[in-house]
Amino acid sequence: MAAASSSTPFLGIRQENQSQVTQQHQSSTVASSTATTPPTVPQKKRRNQPGTPYPDAEVIALSPKTLMATNRFICEVCNKGFQREQNLQLHRRGHNLPWKLKQKTTKEPKRKVYLCPEPTCVHHDPSRALGDLTGIKKHYSRKHGEKKWKCDKCSKKYAVQSDWKAHSKTCGTREYRCDCGTLFSRRDSFITHRAFCDALAHESARHPSNLNPLGTHLYGTNHMSLGLGAQLQNQAATNSILSLGSAPKFEHLISPNLHHSSSFGVQSPPHSSFFMTDPNQAFQDLQSQQQGPLFSSKQFHGLMQLPDLQGTTNNSSSASSVSASANNTNLFNLSFFPNTNSSGSIINDHQFNNISGGNNQGTATHYSTNSPVSNQVGSGLSSLFGNSSVQQDNMSPHMSATALLQKAAQMGSTTTTNGSSSLLRGTEELGIRSNMENEHSNHLRGLMNSLANGNTSIFGNVKGNENNLGQFHNVVEEPKKLSQNLGVCFGGSDKLTLDFLGVGGMVRNMNSGGFSQREQQHSMGTMSPLDPKLESAQANQHFGTSTL
């Protein structure tokens, strides 16, 4: 880089010499001859440069001492130091020394841009010079200076007093609390924790025991209280149904079955033999209790009412009862819990034997073939499944899977890298967005307030922390997409440009507060080459913190 050295005559830059005292009437900047920010220097290709607003500005390189000097204007009489020349002049009046207030030169003021004296710094290069004296001072302190200011609450150190002041205003005022009760002051550790927090996991739908059908209601909200009433009555009923599921009982059932002949609804007694023993009791209880809507239909009684089957089919050869029973026992005519395949086939064989022996009537109507019968079955089934009651018990239709799938497809955040990283690492971010949208949680409001104040410390935070870097990167990489997503989330409020970190908005809006545009670009520029490594580093880091 040709421009790096100050001795390059081409640029006409002259470095301020160490002794600053010589000229009082001059500012500490050295007026140079026709210095121009070189348009011909090949750094034009660098990205993140919004152009050079003042291409013919005077480039000034100051020494570190000059930059850091606080009182540059010294009274020759009493050696009192002043920050500003005007102040010194006014002071000289007191010594009866000749004084003259330097007027602001009319005419077009020559724009000055400043270079950072640190040679390794990006801003050491004239094409990346900063436009503000205060800015370059702060930059130099922050980047290359010693951090003398320390926050008393959190031990964070700052080189610039204004940064420190700004930070201590918000330090500790915003806290994150996980649902498990842990407090966090930092967003990144909060998010990492929440990704693997088990308390969070317990909160969701998974409920403990399968045998407790009421467990489904744990997941529910107020809607479920409607169904609870009905369900409570059926609990005993459903428990007895569910007791079907317990293998030991079944084994003891199926073995007698092996010797029974057909399990179709034919007249021979042992057909519905599956439930000849204990569970029949349960079923009888079931029937006596079944006031619940689930079992209101007579047709459906055929399904569960097997003891009845035993009673009636001995006598009747009526097609209807047989068909009713037949319709529904076909559910049970297979060894449902296949202890062995052979048991299944043994049953089949026995069935065949029996059937071939006669009982055409019974098997003929096995499958409710005629349309009126099928209507019966159909209606039986629909009332079996209990339309109205079901809708009470289950959730209301707008929660259907198809509706949610369509909505999710519309939101479409899976396709952006932004969305994908936030899904895994910060699934909470989506959650927090939802909080913003619906509940306006305090801490986010606080964040937005502090953003409005042009708080730079958050930005500083982000830079300092590797985890945040990744998130920041994601934000920066596709700020537009993020704001689009946010548009969806926020319902199009004018806070579109602010994301949850506030960084996107800050990047765009933050011109004050000592952050020049170029500095922002600078930081963004440095981050991009780190990205690929960041992804994997993040993942590892993330997992590392997961060993809670």
Partner: protein, 403 residues
């Protein structure tokens, strides 16, 4: 509101997990599964249930991509025995109207096509639901043609398991005797893939009706890797469902259809799932299958109580297994290769079939039948074919063809 957000997050997480699994990023996919395990639940609402099964399928997929022995052992445990399969198929028949409608329409179409015939041959390529369909057909025939003496009916059924066929034969025999038909049953123990239609014991020259309900797509199962290489020579169709005009990938299907065509059926009725999950891209398959099975789970949610144990069992043993097949299996193992009717039509036309309209009587009956079920199902006739919808989502299609 929070619920909705959770649901949406669940969906995004699922799709994201699929993407990660497909790209080989198993580490992050594992994290996604971890998160999914707390969001999904087999006892929750329909989205959570369908998400559980999809998560399981993605987990199996991840295992299958990395290990060989583990997935085989897991599959060993999970394979359903024949009675279990029969049970879940029966539940499918009971819980949904789809099979009912399919059978009704098939039968009506066959009856109308066999007007005036005295001997009827039926080829059943999908007898798993037992003999219901043909018993109804016989009854329908009897109603429609009460005066035809000695109607002769021969049913040929193809199934892999002998027991199923035996059961079916017996039921049918009984019914036929009751209705005074001459009845002959030809069971053929074979899988569809290894079946050569020419070897079937069907008399040429006699009117033949073919029915295939939700089975035809299994013939599309093919060794995808080889197929992909061959596809490169042909223009890849955007749908990634292999274009029927590319010879190699669906050769099995084309040969089979052509074989069927050579039997010169008077009518052939095909019922298939109306969804395209025959892609090679995992994310695409998951996406589309989510929509399809989401709708199926919604139907259950709307009609059956969550606590009914049969429902959970059915979801696990039939729907869950289908989902696992779609997501986690590859190549010849992946049998659930549903395709939309619009891709079936060229295939069938290529084999020589021509479309015939569906029996309007059947449609009328089916519409009436739907009144017995939860509101939300509808039937629509489009393009001479019938589609069964659940709330604007097409789920199944029925189409009729002839030689």
């Amino acid at each position: 509101m929070n619920w909705e957000r959770k649901g949406i997050r669940l969906v995004h997480l699922l799709k994201h997990c699929a993407k990660l699994t497909e790209s080989g990023n198993y580490f992050d996919a594992d994290i996604a599964l971890y998160r999914l395990s707390s969001l999904a639940s087999p006892d929750g609402d329909s989205l959570q249930r369908v998400a559980t099964h999809f998560s399981e399928a993605l987990a199996c997929c991840q295992v299958a991509k990395n290990l060989r022995g583990v997935p085989k052992v897991l599959r060993l445990v999970k394979t359903l025995s024949t009675p279990e399969q029969q049970l879940v198929k029966q539940l499918f028949f009971d819980f949904y109207p789809f099979l009912n409608i399919a059978y009704t329409i098939t039968n009506r179409t066959i009856i109308e096509a066999m007007e005036g015939e005295t001997t009827i041959n039926v080829l059943d390529l999908s007898p798993s639901s037992g003999a219901v369909q043909w018993i109804r057909l016989m009854q329908g025939l009897k109603e429609r043609f009460p005066n035809t003496p000695c109607l002769k009916i021969t049913v040929t059924a193809i199934h892999e398991k002998k027991e199923v066929l035996e059961q079916m034969g017996l039921h049918l025999g009984v019914e036929a005797e009751r209705l005074h038909f001459h009845f002959q049953f030809n069971p053929v123990v074979s899988s569809l893939e290894s079946l050569d239609p020419e070897t079937l014991p069907i008399k040429k020259g006699e009117p033949l009706a073919i029915s295939c309900v939700l089975q035809l797509h299994s013939l599309l199962a093919t060794d995808d890797d080889n197929a992909k290489q061959n596809m490169k020579k042909v223009n890849p169709s955007p749908d990634s469902a292999l274009s029927p005009f590319s010879p190699c990938p669906s050769r099995k299907m084309d040969c089979f259809l052509y074989g069927l065509w050579k039997l010169q059926p008077k009518v052939m009725v095909i019922t298939e799932q109306e969804s395209n999950v025959n892609g090679s891209s995992l994310t695409q398959r998951v996406d589309r299958a989510l929509n399809f099975y989401g709708a199926l789970f919604d139907c259950l949610e709307a009609s059956i109580s969550r606590t009914l144990v049969w429902r959970t069992l059915f979801e696990k043993m039939l729907l869950g297994e289908e989902i696992k097949n779609i997501v986690a299996c590859e190549g010849v193992e992946r049998k659930e290769r549903h395709e939309k009717l619009e891709t079936w039509i060229p295939r069938l036309e290529l084999a020589g079939f021509r479309r015939v309209p569906i029996s309007s009587n059947g449609i009328w009956l089916a519409t009436r039948m739907l009144q017995n079920y939860v509101p939300g199902y509808n039937i629509r006739q489009e393009n001479k074919c019938l589609f069964i919808y659940w709330k604007e989502i097409p789920l199944f299609s029925v189409s009729a063809w002839k030689f």
